[in-house]
Amino acid sequence: MIELRQVGLKYGEREILKNVSLTIKDNTIKAILGPSGVGKSTILKLMLGLIKPNNGQVIVDGTDITNMNETSLYAIRRKMGMVFQGNALFDSMTISQNLGFFLRENMKLPEEEISRRVAEQIQFAGLEGYEEQLPESLSGGMRRRVAIGRAMIFKPHMILFDEPTAGLDPVSSKKILSLISSLRKNNNLGAVIVTHIIDDVFNVADSVAVLYKGEIIFDDVTEKLHEADHPFICSILSDKILEL
């Protein structure tokens, strides 16, 4: 379980997050919805301890990671997988090297076990035959699936997705969303999805938090989003894609 308690964050004079509180339970999919540049990706980085808040607490599985040092954070981070917006694949490595990289780096596993896990993720992502290709030779949707496979390589409890369908064509978006749904069904995984596309929320999320001007203005099950009377939520429900 991941908890954000009264988290505030400033970049210089600019206040990005104001007293944000969120809870993401295991084996649930939570969406964080909001316009671009509002601080949604920042929330994911806070959950991983990649950035520190100015105030408040970040709790992962009961451990307060707010002021934890980088070395202690590594163990916590391995409980979560992260799919970055631009995928952040290592462009000089092949697909199988990308998938196996962190296993070789951080776990003392025999090479057979690494190969087995890599093959498992290749199959899960539907990338058989592309093992020795470089990321640049794959389509956007395929690269996203490699990034999801890499995020699952440590068998985490929770996967954090930063704009998982942004920049993808409708068919690839659908594939990615069904892949996310299957994670919970088949692997008992929880997920946090940061998005500005409201259809994604209705397609996969159990609950949704709406971030607007640095504050959470809605946090409940997805179905209740239609009942919200905040003008911003009403506007996004009518327009579907959020603009700045």
């Binding site: 980088e70 590594y74 981070r77 391995r78 997988g81 970055f84 952040a88 890499r150």
Partner: protein, 272 residues
Amino acid sequence: MKTLQSPSGAIAFTRALQEKLLLEMKVFFFTMQEFFWFSVRAFVAIPKAKQYWRDVLDQAKICGVDSLPIVLVSAVSIGALLAIEVGNLLEDFGAKTMLGRSTALSVIRELGPLLMGLMLSARFGSRNGAELGAMQISEQIDALRAFGTDPIAKLVTPRLVAALIMFLPLTAFSDFAGLQSAAYMAEHYHRLDPGIFWNAVYPRLVAKDFVVGFLKAPVFAMIITLVSCFNGFSARGGTSGVGRSTIKGIVVSSGLVLIANFYVSKIVLENM
């Protein structure tokens, strides 16, 4: 309307300038602090270099073997040029037989290591800045951290270790090439017997001359690697940000190489 000519305008201008200067100073000190801790972490991670021995070998090839041609070209040209210019000057005083001694001192103590440092700052430093900057922009460095790998141990320390190892032989090659080209020009341009040239080189070189020259190699290795990697890690703002951080890395490391060159020479020559 307030103008600089009116007292209130001048006061406002002075205040704005003061605030800007204070902000710049604050940014400078924060950057220095960050650079200090970045460097400490790179050194602390040196024992982990064993884990990344493949990266160390790759980087040793990049900064050592692959840099050899440019280092040799610069050493040969500066050695030849020194021999011509200094030879002409010594000829006026009838002291052409001292050509070997004067070029050897210049090459071994100063120009060999300095040129190598500047060439590597441009070649190795720019590569580090651009590569790490691109990784920073595309969130690959964040990905390393997110999956539990120390990016400094993985990306910076192998470069540092490789540079510390490779800069010494590069200095030796640079000195050797510089002296050989000077000897060639002494023989073919100034018609000086090679025996006279080399006789003025070897017996007169003392330990201090080599200490000055070879002490610069590890100092330059640290400066070039840490400054360029730090700038790569600090890249922000897309592809133009990568360009800015790369240029900054080269400019700052080249400037620091020149300053360090002076101080290493001064300290060693005054104390040995």
